[in-house]
């Protein structure tokens, strides 16, 4: 916002800067040659949330009178990175995080890349570590698919 004053003695301009929020470019995969496979979640843009997509993170801190929204966001970011790193190459789609009371439920769809026993090892490890980290019970609900489910090619 730039304002100017008409006083000849005090002619100055202010500049107020915000960080650039590329609201038109976030979470959108642009149309390309047609060789890029894209999942349903990736194909629909953020303005479709609530219409054609659901929410990836479900908690009550965005309701009127509830606090802790920022902390939930930070936790979510950490959990997503943690899952991405622990189950590296296995995630077929974005992780959905649900909070029910004290319980933190992490719902993930995995590709059947590892043996089930290895999956269970990682599940036990993740649950235990995140429970101790966030001091609340953490449960993982996992579903597996043979390969990444492609919605369309862009």
């Amino acid at each position: 916002i730039v304002s100017s004053q008409l006083f000849p003695a005090a002619c100055f301009r202010n500049i107020h800067c915000t960080a650039a929020c590329l609201k038109n470019r976030a979470a959108r995969i642009r149309v390309g040659k047609g060789d890029k496979s894209v999942t349903y979640e990736q194909a629909y843009h953020p303005h479709h949330i609530g219409h054609r997509k659901g929410w990836l993170s479900q908690h009550t801190s965005n309701l009127q009178g509830e606090d802790g929204a920022a902390e939930r966001v930070v936790e979510d970011v950490f959990i997503r990175r943690f899952m991405y790193g622990t189950f590296h190459g296995c995630l077929a789609d974005e992780v959905v995080i649900k909070r029910r009371g004290n319980l933190l439920v992490i719902c993930a769809v995995m590709i059947q890349k590892l043996l089930p026993s290895k999956f269970y090892f990682l599940i036990g490890y993740t649950e235990e570590l995140l429970s101790h980290f966030y001091k609340c019970p953490v449960k993982i609900e996992m579903q597996t698919v043979e390969e990444k489910v492609v919605y369309k090619y862009l």
Partner: protein, 590 residues
């Protein structure tokens, strides 16, 4: 109110008018009365009396109860430990164990990280505080070398730290009371001289505790063995013996701890020599010592009668020292008798009578040992069923609490109507898979023969049939090419006869096809039984097919079957021709 007042005025007015009118006309008196009644009714109607219904009170949990009634337990789901996905659901018992163990080892890996880097897990979000989600503070509170510190380390089960502290105390000259030393001995002998909690962690494994046969791998790459328990052995000159030697006046408790530790970790002959030392010091042993020694007795002697004599000797000494035997003592005797062969059979019942005489209730483990003594493969079935019946007389209707570690695994038999015996498994037929006995095949076959042998009434047959179908599933679900059990002609026949007796003709028919696929030959009486069943149902086609099957196997009784079918059934032209062809065929082949 206003309306009713005004209405009343109106009513009065109108009745006055009516009266004036009616005085003129006398025959209208009845009409007047009728009108008056009508007006009274209207007044009552407008008086607005409301009946309030009684208030319904709901309990505080009513909504939750209503919601809960809509949800039932899903009997087809796998255990709640596992994920609800077909790829991740265990299908065999070994997979079950593998997955639960891998999950456990994942948890242990996480615990290792949490306890090694506790500073990242200190932030306490939880209100109220949840102590189990904090990293373990394994540092002992009391630092200076004193008896209280020793007690604390014993309580925290830190064997190494406790032993070190004990040595420190002795070197410093402070005497440690006998009580505390006994507790220390108990700890060492129970834990086998290594720390319990850190076993799964490879880095913290000490060089000294080496005799480990299986180590559970905390990492992926190698699937942990299903029976991945650490089995340490008792080593020479370990801490327990050393500390014991340092004791000036060991008492019963110390000896007891030492002997039990030795027996637990396999040093059987040492246990006996320690026991002799104890007797030489004119000390009395307690019941736990005797239990341990009886458990160790079969391992130190070779021949059956020597084993038994040793046990009897121990029991006599027990009586001399006026030590009362308890349930574990007699269970240990029964367990030892399993290794005593035929001698075990003759001695088992006196033991049971002893139990009764001492008014000790036999637990599931006692029955398990009993069955194991008598239920050896190769023994005639007759004798076994009698034992089983008697056992089941006792077991039926009682509830058992787990009093002995062996109570876990048991095939349960239940008595029915005081006359017949029918078998049901304690949990589903996966239990049989989990039993993992080498003679599993024989067990299942004997089960089938038992079921097929006698003719029971309808209910029993029904449950037998259910059982039989379960058994069929065991045979069928081969685990990735590995066949668990293979069919024999006898077991197949028994299964089919059980199904037939329960009038499950369709299932029996499918089983009959299995004969061909598994290269087994059905017996004559089975086919005859089948034919009778088919005749009852009046299925002519099936009868003809039966004959064809029998001809396919080139059975010698095919002609007899053909005759039976021709006589007992009403055949069509085509079927008659087919049968006569078959007859000629079999005649030629004979």
């Amino acid at each position: 109110m206003a309306s009713s007042c005004s209405l009343r005025h109106n009513v009065c007015k109108s009745s006055r008018i009516l009266r004036i009118h009616l005085q003129k006309s006398w025959p209208n008196r009845c009409f007047l009365i009728f009108c008056l009644f009508f007006f009274i009714i209207i007044i009552i109607f407008f008086s607005e009396e409301i009946v309030i219904p009684r208030k319904k009170t709901w309990s505080k949990e009513a909504v939750l109860q209503a919601l809960a009634s809509t949800v039932k337990r899903d009997p087809t789901a796998s255990d709640s430990r596992f994920q609800d996905d077909p790829y991740l659901t265990p299908k065999t018992s070994s997979e079950f164990k593998l997955f639960s163990l891998s999950q456990e080892s994942g948890r242990n890996a996480a615990k290792y990280f949490i306890n090694t880097y506790p500073k990242y897990f200190q932030k306490d979000y939880a209100q109220p505080h949840i102590p189990c989600l904090m990293p373990e503070t394994l540092e002992a509170q009391i630092e200076e070398a004193s008896e209280a510190a020793l007690i604390e380390r014993i309580r925290m089960r830190r064997v190494k730290a406790a032993v070190d502290l004990y040595d420190q105390l002795l070197q410093a000259g402070t005497s440690v009371s006998l009580n505390v030393t006994n507790q220390l001995l108990d700890l060492i002998c129970f834990c086998g001289d290594h720390d319990l909690a850190r076993e799964n962690v490879p880095e913290q494994r000490n060089e000294e505790t080496e005799d480990v046969q299986d180590e559970p791998q905390a990492k992926e790459g190698r699937a942990p063995k299903a029976s991945g328990l650490l089995k340490a052995t008792w080593k020479e000159n370990n801490n327990a013996e050393r500390i014991f030697a340092l004791l000036s006046e060991p008492n019963t408790h110390s000896y007891s701890a030492l002997i039990r530790g030795m027996v637990k970790y396999g040093a059987y002959s040492k246990a006996f020599s320690t026991y002799t030392d104890m007797l030489n010091n004119r000390l009395k042993a307690d019941v736990h010592t005797f239990n341990a020694l009886i458990t160790a007795a079969p391992e130190v002697k070779e021949k059956y009668n020597e084993k038994w004599e040793l046990i009897v000797d121990l029991l006599k000494q027990m009586a001399e020292q006026k030590v009362k035997p308890n349930l574990l003592t007699l269970n240990a005797v029964l367990k030892a008798l399993r290794h005593c062969g035929t001698l075990g059979k003759s001695q088992a019942f006196p033991v049971i009578s002893e139990m009764k005489a001492l008014s000790i209730d036999p637990s599931l483990a006692s029955y398990n040992h009993l069955l194991a003594i008598f239920y050896k493969t190769g023994a005639p079935i007759q004798g076994q069923t009698d034992i089983l019946q008697e056992v089941m007389n006792e077991v039926s209707g009682k509830s058992f609490t787990a009093q002995d570690p062996d109570d876990g695994i048991c095939i349960s038999l239940q008595r029915y109507n005081g006359l017949k015996v029918y078998i049901f498994f304690m949990s589903s037929s996966t239990d049989i898979k989990q039993l993992g006995h080498a003679n599993r095949q024989n067990l299942v076959e004997e089960l089938l023969t038992l079921m097929a042998r006698e003719k029971h009434n309808q209910e029993v047959q029904e449950s037998f049939a259910e059982c039989a179908l379960d058994i069929k599933k065991i045979y069928d679900t081969g685990d990735r090419g590995k066949v668990l059990l293979s069919w024999t002609a006898g077991s197949l026949s028994d299964l089919i006869s059980v199904l037939l007796a329960a009038h499950r003709r369709q299932d029996a028919w499918e089983m009959l096809k299995l004969f061909k696929t598994h290269n087994r030959v059905p017996s004559e009486e089975l086919l005859n039984k089948f034919l009778t069943c088919v005749k009852e149902a009046g299925e002519v086609n099936q009868a003809v097919e039966l004959v064809q099957i029998s001809a396919g196997f080139c059975l010698p009784e095919t002609p007899k079957l053909i005759q039976r079918v021709q006589q007992e059934f009403e055949l069509t032209e085509g079927q008659r021709n087919m049968l006569s062809d078959l007859e000629i065929q079999t005649f030629n082949s004979n």
